[in-house]
Amino acid sequence: MRILTGNDLKTGAVTWWTGSDWSLHVEDAVDVTGSEDEIARREESARRVNAPYAIDATMDEGSPRPSHIKDRVRAIGPTVRPDLTLKPADPDIGNWVI
């Protein structure tokens, strides 16, 4: 599957296309195969996202998991600062990233 990601224009936060909006959580991302360019163009021109791009992902326990480690790090946060990730209380989140 292909999912669409970018950064919030104001905050720079990593965001994911949900089909109708942008979410901080990769598990909200939807498959955009075939329409990624059109959505990216439209959303960027509306300033709802900055520098969007599509990536490969697979479904993992019902949620999208980016195929490349770089996008998994983006999805969660720095592996060396679990307190700054989106899931600071999840002790197994490192396994999901790596």
């Binding site: 104001k10 720079g12 936060a13 990593v14 300033r47 520098a51 790090v73 720095p78 592996t79």
Partner: protein
């Protein structure tokens, strides 16, 4: 320390307001990201993995307590309570919001700081010896010359769009503590027959094509320093390759053109420029020099240190460095606690370091390119009180230049260019050696880790270097041996096939064990490697 004059302040304030307008127009949609990107980069604002990242310039790594407090306040107010000191003596904030960026620049301007030219294809922050003005072995304090070059290179219209970024280092001793020959231009202030001059080394660098800069002129009179630098830049600007960013650095030009021909062209340009009178008045250098006069060192201070506390004694042995004034030392604050993130400091730690600089070091701090902080002028009599305060704050690690004092770039945890994570490898190596007790026996062992070929972690210059690569989507780490960024500069060589994350930690210990087995009296790791060569290490690593 240099203080802005009204012209400096006006320039920086004007740039803040210019950027405020640019950011506003971007947020309002009047600028596209393609239009805005070069503007934000000129102000040190990157878009990294998780957020915008702001890189703030710390000229030649020197700052005072007021500035360090301001950096801490920015970490607290606009970021997530910490900052990252970099391998070019700067600081980076990882979680910046675009809507805050102009306010941050305004706060920086209030303490005579900025983020100008910390990105882009221009002359970057001038770096220098972190012990400048304190080192017993320097012929002169190199910072006035670095400051002169900073002023010359700031907003220089001819050099705002170079083929690639351009880095200059200035030192003034035979001991190189600034990786001088691994810069685009390395300048060593030297003394010849009682006169000071500048030796120019041009065309060094790390990155994907590491090169050691050759000396193209061993003695440029100091009243022609800027003119000669301008000639070096002009030849580069004229011939540097703009068609291929991977071949655009000056090191490629010097290599392909040949140092002899490059030098010939520089000398011709230099002769031409001398007629143009581009050199600033010598009085300006004299004015700058007045800001770098020695503080009022006390005379007849006791030289003895009470070493009855073994932890303190170890810190003194490892983390203090001889000073030119009797009764003083330079004290290094390690930002490398065991298992910590190299170069990171919390806002609280920054505030503390600022207070300690005010109380114990004539209000001065230095950022080392090795991602530690120096208090350059500390009375020996104050060392125990200083160490106690540092130790209480987790800043008392006694590990300068040991295997635990690791340089590591932000790597894949933060950087959009990285291929692999650097920090976890550094953490595991420091934990491994702290646990196995080999750190003391290994002595000086400079270990440097980069998460990609761009080499921000200086892996080419490590006695042991580690390069993270992407191997079919999986992190892999190459091991390199034999590099040095010092006066015995050399480039490290790859041992062979790479390792996974756990394997690279084992491999470093294996290489260290070869050294412990093979070393002769007085040899550092690097000396043993140079004597016995790669083969024994490869045999131990790969069987």
């Amino acid at each position: 320390m240099y203080k802005y004059d009204s012209y400096d302040q006006q320039m920086v304030d004007a740039r803040v307001e210019e950027f405020r307008d640019q950011a506003r127009r971007r947020l309002e949609g009047k600028l596209t990201e393609d239009q805005f990107k070069p503007l934000r980069l000129m102000n040190g604002l990157y878009l990294q993995l998780h957020a915008y990242m702001l890189r703030v310039a710390i000229p030649y790594g020197t700052l005072d307590s007021r500035q360090m407090h301001a950096l801490a306040d920015i970490a607290d107010k606009y970021d997530r309570g910490y900052g990252h000191f970099t391998t070019r003596q700067n600081i980076q904030y990882n979680w910046i919001k675009l809507e805050d960026a102009a306010d941050i620049l305004a706060d920086l301007a209030k303490v005579e700081m900025h983020a100008i030219q910390t990105s882009g294809n221009c002359i970057r922050n001038i770096s220098s010896d972190h012990f400048a003005g304190a080192a017993a072995d320097e012929v002169v304090d190199p910072r006035p010359y670095a400051e002169l070059l900073r002023q010359w290179s700031s907003f220089h219209p001819e050099f705002s769009y170079l083929p690639r970024k351009f880095k200059i280092a200035v030192i003034a001793s035979d001991t190189d503590r600034a990786a001088m020959r691994l810069h685009d231009i390395g300048i060593q202030i030297v003394e010849r027959d009682g006169e000071l001059g500048a030796a120019f080394y041009v065309g060094g660098g790390m990155g994907r094509t590491p090169m050691i800069a050759p000396c193209i002129n061993p003695f440029v009179p100091l009243d022609q320093l800027v003119t000669y630098a301008e000639a070096c830049l002009r030849v580069y600007n004229r011939h540097g390759r703009r068609d291929n960013k991977y071949k655009a650095r000056i090191k490629i030009l010097v290599h392909e053109m040949g140092a002899e021909e490059y030098t010939r062209q520089v000398e011709a340009e230099f002769a031409h420029l001398l007629e143009q009178g581009v050199e600033p008045p010598f009085a300006e250098l004299e004015r700058i020099r007045t800001y770098f006069e020695d503080p009022l060192f006390e005379a007849d201070l006791p030289d003895d240190i009470d070493r009855s506390d073994p932890d303190f004694a170890l810190w003194v042995d490892r983390n203090t460095v001889a000073h030119k004034a009797d009764g003083y030392v330079s004290a290094v604050i390690s930002l490398k606690p065991v298992g910590g993130i190299p170069g990171d400091a919390t806002a609280e730690q920054m505030h503390l370091m600022a207070d300690l600089a005010r109380d114990y070091s004539f209000d001065e701090l230095r950022v080392m390119h090795t991602q530690n902080i120096v208090l350059p002028h500390v009375r020996k009599a104050d060392l125990h009180a200083l160490w106690s305060a540092l130790d209480d704050a987790g800043l008392g690690s006694p590990n300068l230049d040991t295997v635990e004092d690791i340089i590591a770039c932000p790597g894949l945890d933060y950087c959009s260019l990285a291929n692999a994570r650097s920090i976890p490898v550094a953490q595991q190596i420091s934990e491994r050696f702290a646990a196995n007790g080999k750190t003391e026996a290994l002595g000086q062992l400079k270990l440097k880790i980069s998460g990609c070929i761009n080499a921000c972690g200086h892996h080419h210059a490590g006695h042991i270097g580690i390069l993270g690569v992407d191997k079919k989507g999986v992190e892999n780490y190459q091991l390199l041996l034999g590099g040095s960024e010092a006066e015995d500069v050399s480039l490290a060589k790859i041992t062979g096939p790479g390792f996974d994350e756990a394997g690279i930690v084992d491999a470093v210990e294996t290489a260290a064990d070869v050294y412990l087995r093979e070393r002769q009296d007085g040899e550092r790791f690097l000396d043993t490697y140079r004597r016995i060569g790669m083969t024994p290490f490869k045999e131990a690593l790969y069987g």
